[in-house]
C-alpha cells in the first residue's frame, strides 16, 4: 500500500465516524443517548421510526464505535461509548449553529419563538444554587432523571407539570425562582415547562443548555444509585 493510499485509508477512517453522525435520525439517537442508556423500542419511539430501522441505525453507530451495548434479560441497552462522544456531538451542534445557513430557521420551526423565554447560563445557575435562591427542576422523562441529574434538582417530567403545578408553587419560597432544564439547547421540554410556569403567573427561566453539558463541564451531578458527587 502506497503512502497516498494509506493516507486516504486513514482519513476514510475518520470519515466513517462522521458518516455515523451524518443522518438526522442517528443524530437524534446520540442526543437521547447523551442523557443515559436506553433500549431499542424506547429509542424507536423517541426518534419516531420503526424498531427495525432504529436497530439498523444503532448498528451503524455501534459499527463506528460511538455506542456500546449491554444485555439485561431480554432487553439490550445502548449507551454512548464515552463522554468524548458527547464532546463530538456538542462540537457538531456548535458548528452547525454558527455556520449552517438555515439552522436558525429550522430551530425556530421546531422550538417556536424563544423571545419571551429567558435563559440562565451554567455559571449563573451554579451561583444561584450556592446562594439557595433557586429551585432547579428536571423536566426530562423520569428514566433520564434517574440515570443522572443536576445535584439537588427535582424531577417533574414536563408531561406531569400542569398536574403538579400547585405542588411546585407551594414549595418555592417567595424570593426564589424556578429554573427548568432538559436534554440540551435544542430540546423543547424546558421551553414548554417555562411557558407553562409563566402562564401560571410564576417567574421561571430555562438553563441555556442541558444535563449532558452540565456533566461535561464537571459540575455537581447525582443519580438514583450514586447520590451526590462532585463532577
Amino acid at each position: 500500500m502506497g503512502h497516498r493510499d494509506a493516507k486516504d485509508a486513514l482519513f476514510d477512517g475518520f470519515a466513517e465516524v462522521a458518516k455515523a453522525l451524518a443522518s438526522g435520525r442517528r443524530a437524534e439517537l446520540i442526543d437521547v443517548l447523551a442523557q443515559g442508556e436506553r433500549h431499542v423500542d424506547e429509542l424507536a419511539a423517541e426518534i419516531g421510526q420503526s424498531v427495525a430501522n432504529t436497530s439498523f441505525h444503532l448498528r451503524a453507530l455501534a459499527g463506528a464505535g460511538l455506542v456500546t451495548t449491554r444485555r439485561e434479560g431480554t432487553r439490550i441497552h445502548y449507551r454512548l461509548a464515552s463522554e468524548r462522544v458527547v464532546d463530538l456531538w456538542v462540537a457538531l451542534r456548535d458548528v452547525a449553529a454558527a455556520h449552517h445557513a438555515r439552522l436558525d430557521d429550522l430551530a425556530a420551526a421546531y422550538l417556536g419563538d424563544r423571545d419571551e423565554l429567558e435563559q440562565v447560563t451554567r455559571d449563573e445557575l451554579v451561583r444561584r444554587i450556592a446562594a439557595g435562591e433557586v429551585l432547579v427542576v428536571d423536566v426530562r422523562p423520569a428514566a433520564e432523571y434517574r440515570s443522572g441529574h443536576i445535584a439537588g434538582a427535582r424531577s417533574v417530567p414536563v408531561d406531569d407539570l400542569t398536574a403538579r403545578l400547585a405542588e411546585l408553587l407551594t414549595d418555592v419560597p417567595d424570593g426564589a425562582e424556578i429554573v427548568a432544564y432538559c436534554r440540551g439547547p435544542y430540546c423543547a421540554y424546558a421551553d414548554d415547562a417555562v411557558r407553562a410556569l409563566l402562564a401560571g403567573g410564576r417567574s421561571a427561566r430555562r438553563l441555556e443548555d442541558g444535563f449532558p453539558e452540565w456533566r461535561r463541564a464537571g459540575l455537581a451531578v447525582e443519580s438514583a444509585t450514586s447520590g451526590a458527587r462532585p463532577g
Copy 2:
C-alpha cells in the same frame, strides 16, 4: 409542519454538517485548511485528486458552512469558517482514535512504527521554550509557516531538511534539543524530520500534535504579517 417533522428537519440540519465531514477527501481538506488558507489547485495536489473533484468537495464543505472563500485576482482562497471547525475536527479525530476499531492499524500503516519516536506534550514544550532549552522547528511547507506558526519557531520544510541539516546542527547549542512539529498528530512530516535528525546523530523529538492544536490552546503564535502575539 408538525412537531415531529420540524424536529427531524432540525436534526437533518445537524446531520448535514456531519455529512460534509463524512468523506475522507473532505476530511483531508479540513486538515490542510486548519493550517491556513489555500487555493484550489494546491488543495487538489494535497489530497491527490483532480481540480474538478476538489472543487466539488470544497463546494460541499462551503455548502455546509465549514469553509468560506476569498477572491484574490484569478485565485480563490479557501479557509475554514472559524476556529470552531477546528474544534469539531479535533473532536472527531479524538472519538475515532478512542473508539474506531481499526484506526490504530490505519494510522500505523500511514505513519509507520512510532515506537522509537519520542513525543513532547504542549505543556512540556511551553516549559522548555521558556527555559530556552529547545529549538522549535516547523517542518510544514513554507506557505503554512507564513500563515501562522508557534512563536519563535524556525521554518525548515521537511523536504529541505536533509540539505539544511548541517545549518541546523551548528545553530543548536550542545545542551539544547530539537523539537519538530507539523500539521497535527496524524501528520507524517514531523515523524520524518525526527527520523532524519536521529539518523544524523542528533537528539530530537516531535510535538505530540500540531500547529492548529497549539493555536486552539491559546498558546503564543506569530505569522509572517502579525509578528508575535499571545494566543
